[in-house]
Each structure stands twice: as structure tokens, then as C-alpha cells.
Symmetry: C2
Subunit: 297 residues, 2 copies
């Protein structure tokens, strides 16, 4: 059976190849790397890019951590006690241009000393302005990755993303969703599920670069920039109030600057802001809903 | 014994007098009011001020809500089930000028249908730049309010504020603290404790106006503005990750725009930002610690 060492090495290579591709695409900014160790076991490699031509702030983090499951966070480990091992790659990219979406990807592997293991992961898109054609293309590409591995994956994991990336207190989705899965250990072999997870990871860079290149040069106004900052505010709300990865990081005494690399360079809050009916901002807000079939919308 | 109706009316008057004083002090912006009802019982009056001469964004909220304790949030009600009544005034003011501190005040009253009741409250200051003289004066004024009511209050509630307004994941305090108390129902009569709580509320406006007027005209650079936005980022982290009032609001299906009025107009995050040793920003960071005796520092 495939070992945690191999999975970890593949995740590390994934970080390398994604950083190379994203940096290349940005054209002017370079990733800065920090290697960090976790007192209780393991550590990570954080790579951050700031003030680029495409990316205003983004991070591509790798980590592999291990130790005892903290008493107060057993729920994050399938309600198990004992020793755990976790490895993963996490990405959030905040673009300069409001017409380029925020993107997030995560792939992760867990195992416990009782022999149980699972994979998790996902890619989701948070456009400041929703473009139905772009959304259809994005979901079509995720569907293809899924279909290459299991006929049920896209349908199931698309619904899971809708549920997961939902800002409950705002009663709106974070963006147009994507796919999300957790505690996946079947059907199929461990190799099958790892192949799927890694395949998703390898699809991240081409999917993002393609959509970023289409709109990175679009002209935008101050008002459109303001709207981008407000949407980033919602992104902050999701990540700090609801995101399980962030909670997991804080609970397991992860490196705070790496966990919070997901936060935007700047965000705004305006009391009770309501876009004008019929405006592009209003249209976007109308589409922040679960269960939209983007491919056929 | 003093009734919830009287307490509620006094809290409502407190909101009025504070709004009048703050608006007067700002000089150009006016509070806008929204009255809202809560489906499960009660409602509130939110008053928001934006783009003023002194205040960039701030809110002075009154609410009185009642109903059944939600199953999942009994911990917010002293682990009790049954019917509750809660009334309070909450304030957060984000100033334009980085040399003027962010201030927060809250006074609140709870009662349960089993006859138990308690008061809570506090005022705390989050300067973007800590000024020891200002901190001493601020704490001295809070100490005076406390000493007028009970010899143990300042000492006890100052330590409570240090513990409460602590950003655990950053290992730093939110600012220079102040006083904080919760579930206060003795010693003394209900009238005594209400008098103290209301007295604290009435001291808010003179305390804030005095310190705001001292520095609102200070010249500041772009770098100082950037530092203000980073400190506001920490404020967002505290409020969304740790603040009990925010959690209580989200759990009890409060009005989201009123709960999140505490968030700043704009905030920033920069990866691993470390101020230059010896700089004013660095000096402030060194003082974000618990248990500083500001009055005698």
C-alpha cells in the first residue's frame, strides 16, 4: 500500500510545480519561502507571493505534521484519539484585478495510528464578479478531473462544496463553489484515491492560469475596486468564522502566519451595503446561491 | 427590585446621549438609524456613523431580545435552558487618524425565567500607537468609575479585560485593555450593580471625546496609515475568531449588519510583517502584553 512518505513527497513536488507555474504566469513577483518546524512534530514550507502583476497576495503552503490528537479537537480527526499524521498543500490567491477571481485549493492526507486513513481536498472559485461562461468552464474542467476517476465524484463533491463554502450568517455562498471532499477512503484502493487527489492538485495551475490570463488586463474603476474589497471582506468572514482548515491550524498550534496567509492584502466592510438593482454587483449577489448547475446554467 | 423595563429604558437613553455626544464631537458625519426586529422576539436600534471628520466607521447599537435559549448556545446563558431576556448597548468606533485609538464599549443585562440575572460590560482601548501617558489617563479614569462603586472592581475587571481581549493565536493583547466583567450579580443589590454598569456607560463619551480630541489633528504618513490597517486586521481577527458578543449574536440569529458593525472600514494583512526594531510600531508591539500596570507604568 502507498506509504505516507510517498504521498508527502508527491505533495511537496506539487507545491514546487504549482509555484513555478504561478510565478511564471505572474511575471514580476517571486515566491518567498519560509521553512518552519512545529514543536509537537513536523513542520512546513510556506511560499508567499505579494505585489505581483497578477497576484496581489497569495500563498502556496506545504505542511506535514504529526503528534497526539489534541484533546479538544478530536472532531477534526474523525473523533479519534492517538497519534496522527497529516500532510497537505493549501493555496489561496488574491488577484490584483477585480475581474480575476480569488481561487483556493487544498489537498490533504491524514492517517491515524490505528491504521485508518483518508484524503480530502477541493478547488473553489470566488469571483468578485460572476461570469457565467467562466463558471461553466471552471466547473466543466473540475467535472472532467472527477469523471476520470469516478462517475459519482463531480455530482457529490460539487454539492459538498456548495454546502461547505457557505457563509451561513450572510446566507450566501462564498463564490461559485467547485468541488470539496473530506474523509475519502473508498470506494477503490488507497492508490485510486491518492491518484484522484493528486490529479486534482495537478489540474490547479492550468485551470487558474487559463482563467487569470483572460481578464488580468481588464480595465477597472474605483467602484469596482471597492466592490472587490467588500467581497474580500466576506472571504475573511468565511475563513475566520467557518473554515475548518483554519480552525484545525489554530487548534493544532500551527504556524499562524502560514494559516492566515489565506487572508487578503486589504478588505473592506461597509454598513449594510446594497448594490443597485440590476448592476453587475447586484447580479453577482443574486448568484451567490447553492445548487446552481453552472455547467448548464 | 429594579425591573428589566427600567434597565432597558436606561440603556436606550444611554444610546441616545452617547450618539449625541459622539456626533457633536465628529462635527460633520451623522448617525444613520436602522430599527430591526428579531423573529424569535425583540429587536434593536442600530446607529452607524461613517466617513466623519473623526470617525471613519463606527456603530452605537441598542438591542433588547428575548426568547428560548437556543439549544447549541446554552454556554452563553450560564448553561441554563428556558426563556431569556437580554438588553444592551454596544459600541465600536474606528477613527480616521491612526493616532486616535479604536474604542469599544458594551453594557448588558441578562435575566432568565428562573429569576437569575446578571450584568456585564466593559470599555477597552486599542491604540494603533500606544502612548503610555494616554494609557495611564484612560486606566485612571476607569479606575475612578470602579472605585466609586466597589474597591475590588478595578483590580479584578482590569485583569479580566487583559484575559478577555487577548488574541490567543497571535499571543498578543488587542490593545491596552481596560475593564471587562460578566455575570456580575453581587456583592450588593441589583440596584448597586446596575448603577455601576450605567455609570460606566455614562463615562464612555467624556473619556473617548477627551482622548480623541487630543490627537485627531495629528499629521500622519502613508506608512502610519498602513500600520493602522494592519492593526485593524488584528481587530478583525479578534472579533471574528474570539469575541463572545459576536458569537452570541450569530448564535441567537441577531441582525448580521448590526453584529458586524464592529468590523473596520478597511483592514490589511501582510505576510509575516515585522516592524523595525526600535520603531514606534515595534514599541507598540512590545506593549501588547497582559498584566501591565498602565497607571504606574
Amino acid at each position: 500500500m502507498i506509504s505516507k512518505e510517498i504521498i508527502t513527497e508527491e505533495f511537496k513536488s506539487l507545491q514546487d510545480s504549482i509555484c513555478e507555474a504561478v510565478q511564471d504566469c505572474d511575471g514580476i513577483a517571486e515566491f518567498k519561502e519560509d521553512r518552519w518546524a512545529r514543536e509537537e512534530g513536523g513542520g512546513g514550507i510556506s511560499r508567499i507571493i505579494e505585489n505581483g502583476d497578477l497576484i496581489e497576495k497569495g500563498g502556496v503552503n506545504f505542511s506535514s505534521v504529526w503528534g497526539s490528537v489534541p484533546e479538544h479537537s478530536r472532531h477534526s480527526f474523525g473523533n479519534k484519539a492517538g497519534q496522527f499524521y497529516a500532510a497537505g498543500v493549501s493555496i489561496v490567491l488574491h488577484p490584483q484585478n477585480p475581474f480575476v477571481p480569488i481561487i483556493h485549493m487544498n489537498v490533504r492526507y491524514f492517517e491515524m495510528d490505528d491504521g485508518t486513513w483518508w484524503f480530502g481536498g477541493g478547488i473553489d472559485l470566488s469571483p468578485h464578479y460572476i461570469d457565467k461562461g467562466e463558471a461553466a468552464l471552471f466547473h466543466e474542467k473540475l467535472r472532467k478531473v472527477c469523471m476520470d476517476h469516478h462517475p459519482d465524484y463531480y455530482h457529490k463533491f460539487k454539492a459538498w462544496a456548495d454546502d461547505y463554502f457557505f457563509v451561513k450568517h450572510r446566507n450566501e455562498t462564498r463564490g461559485i463553489g467547485g468541488i470539496f471532499f473530506d474523509r475519502l477512503s473508498g470506494p477503490g484502493t488507497k492508490e485510486n484515491i491518492f491518484d484522484f487527489t493528486l490529479d486534482l492538485g495537478k489540474n490547479f495551475a492550468p485551470i487558474y492560469i487559463d482563467l487569470a490570463n483572460k481578464k488580468r488586463g481588464y480595465h477597472f474603476t474605483d467602484e469596482q475596486r471597492q466592490w472587490q474589497l467588500l467581497r474580500r471582506g466576506r472571504y475573511v468572514e468565511f475563513n475566520l468564522v467557518l473554515d475548518r482548515g483554519t480552525k484545525f491550524g489554530l487548534e493544532t498550534n500551527g504556524r499562524i502566519e502560514s494559516i492566515l496567509m489565506s487572508l487578503p492584502p486589504t478588505a473592506s466592510w461597509k454598513y449594510n451595503f446594497t448594490p443597485k438593482e440590476g448592476s453587475p454587483e447586484w447580479c453577482t449577489q443574486q448568484l451567490l446561491k447553492k445548487n446552481i448547475d453552472w455547467i448548464n446554467a
